[in-house]
């Protein structure tokens, strides 16, 4: 499903070149739940952004379902982000002036779905994340857990094949974090969504089928829970 071949991502910072990714080879199969752990600056987020089509590799090849992202145009990449991928961020990144329902509808706007249909689809997804009674609330009227569930609904609204989450529980207390992780695990199982999750927290990482530990832009260790068990 997702294949990375010798992917490099270099940044120039001042006069220095930083290898955010230094020759990553990775295969993720459909429906797999993968967590990526490692210290700050180890390249976790960069890896996620490249798989999500927000960033492009400096060298190497990345294929998703046979589509070569490293050669895709801006239009193709935006279509990919719209239809195939859902992003979940640590800081939720909800639009403060929009209601929960409008926030969830945003990807549908760029998918050219008409307003009446957007409302129907967004309501359904809000039901999935158990927020049917919060449709008209603005983000500042919601709790942290509710906000993250709105963000999850937004990521799900276009029925993507891949969910990418960057520290989704980082801004939540541990109890709420657990609830969110249970929701994500359920979605992964029920919908067969391929799930990549970046985290600091080893407990969170424990939900995954496979755990990658990154160091200095390379995958230092892979722990496959299915093999361990």
């Amino acid at each position: 499903m997702i294949e990375l071949h010798d992917v490099w991502r270099l940044y120039r910072m001042g006069g220095e070149t930083i290898n955010a990714l230094a020759g990553i080879d990775l295969k993720v199969s459909q429906g797999e739940f993968v967590t990526i752990v490692g210290p700050s600056g180890s390249g976790k987020s960069t890896l996620l952004n490249i798989i999500g089509g927000l960033d492009s590799p400096t060298m190497g090849r990345i294929e998703v379902d046979g589509q070569d992202l490293s050669k895709a145009s801006d239009r193709e990449l935006s279509l990919y982000r719209n239809k195939q991928v859902g992003f979940i961020f640590q800081t939720f990144n909800l639009q403060p002036t929009y209601t929960a329902l409008e926030n969830v509808s945003l990807p549908l706007v760029f998918a050219k779905v008409p307003l009446w249909k957007r409302k129907r689809i967004a309501r359904e997804v809000m039901e999935t994340v158990e927020l049917s009674d919060r449709l008209r609330h603005k983000p500042n009227q919601l709790s942290g857990g509710e906000r993250q569930r709105v963000a999850i609904a937004r990521a799900l609204v276009n029925d993507p094949k891949i969910l990418l989450a960057d520290e989704p529980t980082g801004n939540l207390d541990s109890k709420t974090g657990e609830q969110i992780m249970e929701l994500l695990t359920r979605l992964n199982k029920e919908r067969e969504i391929t799930f990549l999750l970046v985290t600091h927290d080893l407990k969170t990482a424990g939900y995954a089928d496979r755990m990658l530990r990154m160091h200095d832009g390379q995958i230092a260790e892979t722990v496959d829970r299915r093999q361990v068990l």
């Binding site: 801006d74 239009r75 935006s78 982000r81 719209n82 992003f87 639009q95 002036t97 706007v109 998918a111």
Partner: protein, 435 residues
């Protein structure tokens, strides 16, 4: 992104920052209302002058003179900045007239579509006064063919007739000058027109003669505010005294200028060209209007420049507003990109926002310009244009309304180019991290 969603998003963004949106649009409004009002004043004034010129030379008339270059007084003509023009020995000086020959007159008369020819009677009167009054006034005696007299709009009395003897029509403005209450009071009164021989122009001894006329009509108010209209035959008689030459306007000395009436205004150009083919000079109301038109284009260009400067400044406001909006909405742009907005969609979002500002500003500006124009018309009709009720100093043709809105929109569109490009190039990862 669907067009409707683009508009929805734009208006919601404009609403979000009400004061700033209002101020940005207001700057465009000032420019657009200035441009539209100034151009409308130019159009109104030009329409008025055009109507006045048509009153002097009717549209179906060709004025004919011996000298083919007699009417060559346009821009670039003698002394108007053009290079000195080479002349032939018999051409004379630019403002010289010489009598047409009888053959000339016959040839003009024989032209196709010529209905009637009359001499253009040249004469100069020193003053006019009401019988029994001691107050004299400047005057311009116009001896007109009957058809032109009949085309003159009157507010009181009647036109001259073929049988008129010593009758005249006076310009409306004399009613006040003569100390009369209303135009009707002038009817039946006698005026004395004093004529001094032309030799006085160059300081030679001259005589004067008084001619008495009965007022039978009063014209509408026009710019020709000192005219006294008399019949062409009586004009010739006065002219002979003025020129001190009893043979003028007889077969011995034919007129220098002819007023040729054509069968209709659609033939005016054709007759004028035919007259020129005879080697004579010709001018029509259209020629004079062309000259006036050129002058007005220059005046309008200068006036509109002020409005355009205002619109230019407003476009800086649009650029500023959009750049501020990019800073405020950086994170939002990042999210939009993450959930599937392409560069061109982001560019379009900002472009539409600027274009809507320009369009709204243009539309409101034209509306305000129009309202100010109406107010100016009202005020002017109540004060200094009291006597020209049909004349609107500000005129708004449909193309002015459409044109100013289009201009504001296009200027705004140009102003959005840079901010929209900048927004579209934002790196989504940087944008999502932006605080």
């Amino acid at each position: 992104m669907r067009f409707l969603d683009l508009l929805r998003s734009t208006f919601s963004n404009l609403r979000r920052r009400k004061l700033r949106s209002f101020l940005t649009i207001f700057a465009v409004v000032i420019g657009a209302s200035l441009v539209s009002l100034l151009i409308s004043l130019g159009i109104g004034t030009k329409d008025f002058l055009t109507a006045q010129i048509k009153a002097t030379i009717p549209p179906d008339v060709v004025i004919v003179a011996f000298n083919p270059k007699a009417f060559d007084i346009g821009i670039g003509g003698p002394g108007f900045g053009g290079s000195p023009r080479e002349v032939s020995d018999d051409e004379g000086s630019p403002f010289t007239f010489r009598p047409l020959t009888l053959e000339n007159i016959e040839a003009v008369e024989a032209l196709e579509h010529v209905k009637q020819i009359d001499p253009y009677v040249m004469l100069e009167a020193e003053s006019v006064k009401l019988q029994g009054s001691d107050r004299s006034f400047r005057t311009e005696i116009r001896a007109m063919p009957q058809y032109q007299v009949e085309d003159t709009e009157l507010v009181a009395g009647r036109h001259l007739t073929e049988e008129s003897q010593r009758e005249c029509i006076i310009a409306n403005q004399y009613v006040d000058s003569f100390g009369l209450e209303q135009p009707g009071d002038a009817l039946g009164q006698e005026v004395i027109v004093r004529v001094r021989q032309w030799t006085s122009w160059i300081g030679l001894p001259s005589e004067t003669e008084d001619y008495e006329f009965t007022i039978v009509g009063v014209t509408e108010k026009t710019l020709i505010s000192t005219q006294v209209i008399i019949s062409i035959e009586e004009g010739k008689e006065i002219s002979r005294f003025w020129a001190d030459n009893p043979d003028w306007y007889t077969d011995k000395i034919p007129p220098a200028i002819l007023q040729v009436k054509t069968e209709g205004s659609q033939y005016t150009d054709q007759v004028a060209r035919a007259v020129e083919d005879l080697g004579l000079g010709a001018i029509t109301s259209k020629d004079v209007l062309g000259l006036v038109g050129t002058i007005f284009i220059i005046i309008q260009a200068v006036l509109s420049a002020f409005g355009l400067i205002a619109l230019g400044v407003a476009s800086l406001g649009i650029i500023n507003t959009l750049i501020m909006a990019i800073h405020e909405r950086t994170r939002e742009i990042g999210v939009m990109k993450a959930v599937g907005a392409s560069r061109s969609t982001i560019r379009l979002l900002f472009t539409i926002e600027g274009v809507i500002i320009g369009f709204l500003g243009g539309a409101i500006g034209v509306g305000i310009g129009y309202a100010l124009g109406l107010a100016i018309n009202r005020i002017s009709h109540a004060t200094f244009l009291k006597d020209f009720q049909t004349f609107n100093i500000s005129a708004f043709p449909w193309w002015l309304i459409v044109g100013v809105i289009a201009l504001s929109t296009i200027i705004a569109l140009v102003a959005t180019l840079y901010p929209a490009h900048r927004a579209s190039r934002l790196d989504p990862i940087e944008a999502l991290r932006y605080e």
